[in-house]
């Protein structure tokens, strides 16, 4: 590969990023694939005391203790029983220099798409189940709508739990 090719290649990729998409309550969501650590089948989850309802508990992921978040509960969607396609997508979040590994329960994984981040549309305010603060934007691929999530905000368990722990410690 010549020098020019490499330059061209990296230029082309800087505009588009790869996203892993998954289904949740009939809609398709996407997370940046570079944040995905792995995809994991359903396994025993141990509940954590004093945790909000959407945190199902923790799981042993190759020796690490990883919290598992139920995305349906997080978005106040109706519950669904664990099925054959239920998977846990393990992602890495970054907040204020701290990084955490967190698993999120989804209905099923779908595809990997290259998405041009410059062409994202903002989420229209139509009162959907997903609050707009967790959404980076909408993208259309093959006539499907993809909701791209900002996982750092969505999975920021630190802030969401701080008041809880204080009240219980008091």
């Amino acid at each position: 590969m010549s020098h020019a090719d490499i330059m061209a290649g990296s230029n082309a990729e800087s505009d588009s990023k790869q996203y892993l998409t998954f289904y949740l309550n009939g809609e398709e969501y996407g997370v940046e694939i570079l944040r995905v650590q792995g995809i994991q089948g359903w396994d025993t989850v141990t509940p954590i005391p004093h945790s909000p309802e959407y945190i199902l508990g923790v799981m042993n992921l190759r020796g690490a203790i990883v919290p598992i978040i139920d995305l349906r509960k997080r978005f106040n969607m109706p519950d669904m029983d664990i099925g054959k396609t239920t998977v846990i997508i393990v992602v890495k979040t970054h907040n204020d220099g701290e990084s955490r590994t967190i698993g999120m329960v989804t209905d099923a994984v779908s595809e990997v798409y290259s998405i041009d981040e410059n062409a994202l549309q903002p989420l229209p305010d139509f009162g959907g189940s997903v609050s707009s603060e967790f959404v980076k934007g909408l993208s259309t691929i093959e006539d499907k709508m993809l909701i791209l999530l900002d996982i750092d905000r969505l999975l920021d368990i630190r802030d969401k739990l701080a008041p809880n722990s204080q009240s219980s410690a008091a």
């Binding site: 025993t44 509940p47 923790v58 020796g63 203790i65 739990l161 219980s168």
Partner: protein, 690 residues
Amino acid sequence: MSDDMDMSEIHDIFYEESYEGLDVMESGLLGLGIGQPDLEIVNNIFRAAHSIKGGAATFGFLPISKFTHGVETLLDQVRAQERIVSEDVIEVLLESVDCIRRMLDMFKAGNVPDEASSIELKQRIDTILALPSGGAMKAASNGEVSEPAELKQWTIQFSPSVDILKTGNEPLRIFNELRALGELKIVSDISKLPDIRTVEADSCYTQWILILDTDAERKRIEEVFDWVSDQADIIIECKESDITNSQAQTTPIAAALELPSSEAESAVAVGASSSNGKNSSSTKESGSIRVSIDKIDALLNLVGELVITQSMLARHADGAVAGSEAQGLKDGLLVLERHTRELQESAMQIRMLPIGASFSRFKRLVRDLSQKTGKKVELKLSGENTELDKTVLEKMSDPLVHLVRNSLDHGIEKPEDRLAAGKPETGTLHLSAYHEGGNIVIQVDDDGAGLNRQRILAKAIEKGIVSPSEQLSDDQINNLIFQAGFSTAEAVSDLSGRGVGMDVVRRNINDLGGRIEVSSREGKGSRFKIRLPLTLAILDGQLVKLGSDVYIFSLLSIVETVLVSPGEVRKVVGNGNVYRLRDDYIPVVRLRDAFKLRCKDSIKTYLERDGELLVVVESDGQRIGLFVDELLDQQQVVIKSLEENYKPVAGLAGATILGDGNVAMIIDVPSLIKTLDIAAITSKIEDFAA
């Protein structure tokens, strides 16, 4: 040393070695007899001081090197038997050790110590140095220190190893240093130079013969080669120059050095290797290496994983396979299990240090305190070789200091009181460490007056810790000293009563997962017994079941487990429940409720049973009962952090991975009790009991 080490890492090594050196000096000084010092000890002290000075000068910690220089000079006189070791000398040297330590602390914290802090001590050293050497044994023959030394010619054969340049040592620098001592002639020997095609640019093939005319002592010349003495063959010979110098006069010089030249070289070599950071021990050849704690913890973590994987394999093999093949597999797994256990034990052993190093610090403390208080105390140590996790050891240091201070301050009586009570004038303080039932026990015994229970009770009533109507057992009264805001000292001295009470001691020990007990006999003495877990990374756990989940208590926190029938639990006005455990009412809580668990199985299953399992735990002297569904095994578990990917949870110390791969939560009793707001319940119990 590798090239990629930045300066701060090198500084850290310097600090660490200097602290070690100071410890060597301190313990040496404390063991040094008055009058007739053991020369071996003196040499150890001197070498430690010398390394500190050398290191400090090299890395630019000039206040330290300047100050240590005076100390070194004094030590040198002692070493050469020119100065008699008096109580004064030891005192000054001990204070110097403290002073150097303070300076190191300041540098380490990023400050530069000011001259004022050491000036007074420096003057005292200078005063001693200025004194005539106090009846030195060989004052007459030891001309080399007091009289101006004569010009002598030295021949030095300097044959460095080929790799000397790679270690960052530059012969040229050494030559320049020698030049500063006097007239230097250098003869190079390049006979070892290989063929030009095989020459490596960073290897040194040259050897030198150096001829030095100087009035400096041999020691000064040897110092120049300190840093390279283990990388070069160095032969230093004194050729009597034509200046009038008789054979008779050189002999005492060698004698004054106390070392024939070959020994002198080996002594220098030891000093040099420790200052090069290659050897962790500053005095003994222990063959150890310095490894960062992080690496060891990573290793321990991996070993923990291995143990889990191994037990998982064993479980699967149990049911899964049959037939002749299976036997081989099972045998193999048994061997694996044994090896894994051994590996785990050896890996844990890395973090373990003998408690002796920590104990020997108390020699100093006891010496200082007994001088200050005018009490006569003998410190006895036993079990110094008992090993303890490094972190536990470090965190135990303050509580132990406090206990020892307390025993000296409040426990052991003044000599005249002791005589009046028919006891020997000198009190005994006994520090011991030993293993007991998988725990480490550290015990502080004194043969002093014992706890004065009337005074403790009176004080507790005065402070409102107990009500006057309460009937307390002797044991309960003894334990009052651990209550917050309690200080028994009639007169607050500078020894104790500095705001850190026994409550802090107990909290520190509880935080480590340990317990402290006190027992005392009036007039005979008291005993503080501290029970500690072997290590912090691994916990001896009692597994219990709550609903479908497994929770783990530290065995150390459990007092007992009792079977309670539903009728024995009584409701107290408000919301608390209590159970009468022998003479005490203790608050009881359902652990499920405490953790607000969303258990899927019906609560009835355990209410319907005839008896309930109550685990009685204790922290900070507070006992509470926790109902659990079932008691499971006891096993060792590896503690893992919940914070790494989640956040700290009140009432939990962390989590662990069980043999089946599932996660189980580890209960932190002290923080659980805080979470439950037991104080509110306890106050109701008092109404109830009364």
